[in-house]
Subunit: 406 residues, 2 copies
Amino acid sequence: MAVNLTEKRADELLEIDGIRLFTGRAGIKQQNRDDLTLMVLGGGHTVGAVFTQNRFCAAPVHIAKSHLFDQDGVCALVVNTGNANAGTGAQGRLDAIKVCAAAAEQVGCQSNQVMPFSTGVILEPLPVDKIVAALPQVRPAFWSDAARAIMTTDTVPKAASRQGLVGEKHTVRATGIAKGSGMIHPNMATMLSFIATDAKVSQPILQLMTQEIADESFNTITVDGDTSTNDSFVIMATGRCGQSEIDNTADPRYAQLKALLGSLALELAQAIVRDGEGATKFITVEVQNAKTREEARKVAYAVAHSPLVKTAFFASDPNLGRLLAAVGYAGIEDLDVDALKMWLDDVLVAENGGRAESYTEEAGQAVMNRPEITVRIDLQRGDTVAVVYTCDLSHEYVSINADYRS
Amino acid sequence: MAVNLTEKRADELLEIDGIRLFTGRAGIKQQNRDDLTLMVLGGGHTVGAVFTQNRFCAAPVHIAKSHLFDQDGVCALVVNTGNANAGTGAQGRLDAIKVCAAAAEQVGCQSNQVMPFSTGVILEPLPVDKIVAALPQVRPAFWSDAARAIMTTDTVPKAASRQGLVGEKHTVRATGIAKGSGMIHPNMATMLSFIATDAKVSQPILQLMTQEIADESFNTITVDGDTSTNDSFVIMATGRCGQSEIDNTADPRYAQLKALLGSLALELAQAIVRDGEGATKFITVEVQNAKTREEARKVAYAVAHSPLVKTAFFASDPNLGRLLAAVGYAGIEDLDVDALKMWLDDVLVAENGGRAESYTEEAGQAVMNRPEITVRIDLQRGDTVAVVYTCDLSHEYVSINADYRS
């Protein structure tokens, strides 16, 4: 069902010098697929990461955060699917540390140098013995293998690469993978994404760049408005491209690298929406000329989260009233609905507080039949923009989520 | 599909002295059913009303509000289904006034003494000529007829009555009707409800009581989180029961009458959830021991709005993790997840940051199989409570909303 999304072959993704990947089978939920991924960094690297803001954040999130900000530096990442180790209390944190210790022994580092990540069912104890037993069996893997090994309800593995000049002499490469399809919402949802680049960036600057990139990529997507307990986004900079270290934001290479990695992160984030549970349409909601970014986002999310709007897209029904109603309840108290304009792709649908005079049902229907649609809302009260990406709400969404545990 | 909801017969609903009902056929959307309701008040009455807070509030909402607060007093209400007259700009307001004028001529009052109400498709011009032509043809009706005439996607007409002592000598009667099934959310959604009572209450005090009752009934229900452009709740007090006027809140009869009408409004509000689009389960979410009412409501609505929680209820799947994740992202920044407890009916499911030790999958499954379920969440950080009512998210919801306009 994924909207315009296809699997990348191994040879379509750039290898990144300074990071080695391994995948294996712990048999946590399914026996005949890889569900364990190990990423090992080769030294001289830095790591930045952002995590879910859910108060029920999972045990591995607690541990990964703590290890990220330890003095010793991160040497490896270990990811399992099938069990999220969330809502598992103190035992869950002990289990996450056990996984780190097993990975550390294998890699030859300290356990506080390993960041753990888990995704899958919540409130079930992590089968830590299965993971510890499987770790020595992992095999070297391509990015395409890792993209597949971190999947849960995803129907298509998500991966992409970029390369480009950063500074005048050095071509930087980057490859990223992501998983997630439901529960995708700003502030990180059941979403994991890992990007590696051979750029050289100091840790504090990489951490800042990771936050800024997350805000403009993973934090602009929504499938069903739920935010999860485990979501994490990591950028690993191996420093192997030969450039000198980027250690401040005034360095013009900061913006160049951020643009390169940001475009990669946005492609991965959009891939998650394209593979949204039951998605048949990819919807861009762009709110223009708002007073503030917060206000623009409020309106965009009210539209993107409305089950009535989302079912209308599923039905290819130009039910504009539902769109306007969602704008109306977004919480902008002094919104002048007569000043607002709204477009579906290039068709003006609403102005002067109602349907545009030039609008025809045929023109609206022609847009609604498309698999990718942009809703553009001009609030005409400021100069700030926000864009969010979402998908429609289909029968398949209900089926997937009614059956997930069985 | 409605959950434990059946149609009331005409003789199960109390007639209220001082108000006459009429229904008729304007043929706005369907030809072979009544879609027009006229309520005529007999003098000596007062009216209180609350309206949607959607910024795209419909033309009839503008006009009804303006007529309610006019000096001349309200004499009649006219309600059409099939077209909401929303997002129709200045023409929509003119159309609503034309309907008022036609009703006023028939009733023998001024047009600013008529409150208009519309529900149905938005952004389509109101077929005002059909309504004006049909008004002289309306026939006297029972409350059960009116409950049926105001339906849109409702599968069961919603009506209820109450009677009880208010003061020491006077038995007060009240009957109410309501419509609505999707888009139901606090601050009033595609929801219309009209209650008539023979109590005698001054207008300002009735207005206050209407607001207080709405806050504890219609503003505690949610089907899909969308709020509509047209929602309105009206209480008409005919004053015919023989009591002296209640004109201040310190009068002990204020609390008695509010309890009587409040219980009626809550039954009607819950009926809307029971008939939620595609509903197969009626869910009560009770948040206890919060610091503030706002905080309690935030948590209750996060749970009640989560599509993942709602599909789990549809599947009768005790997927507790989704419940906890929703609590976690409700936006209570300093929430101590280890202190929180959660029950499904009488089964303790979560404590100490994870699944309760006493919990068994069998016990959880037994609760989830029931058609009515209470989720109780004890935040253990204050002494404030909030309760909201919702339903599950089923395949049928998607079908209904994907097909609504066709």
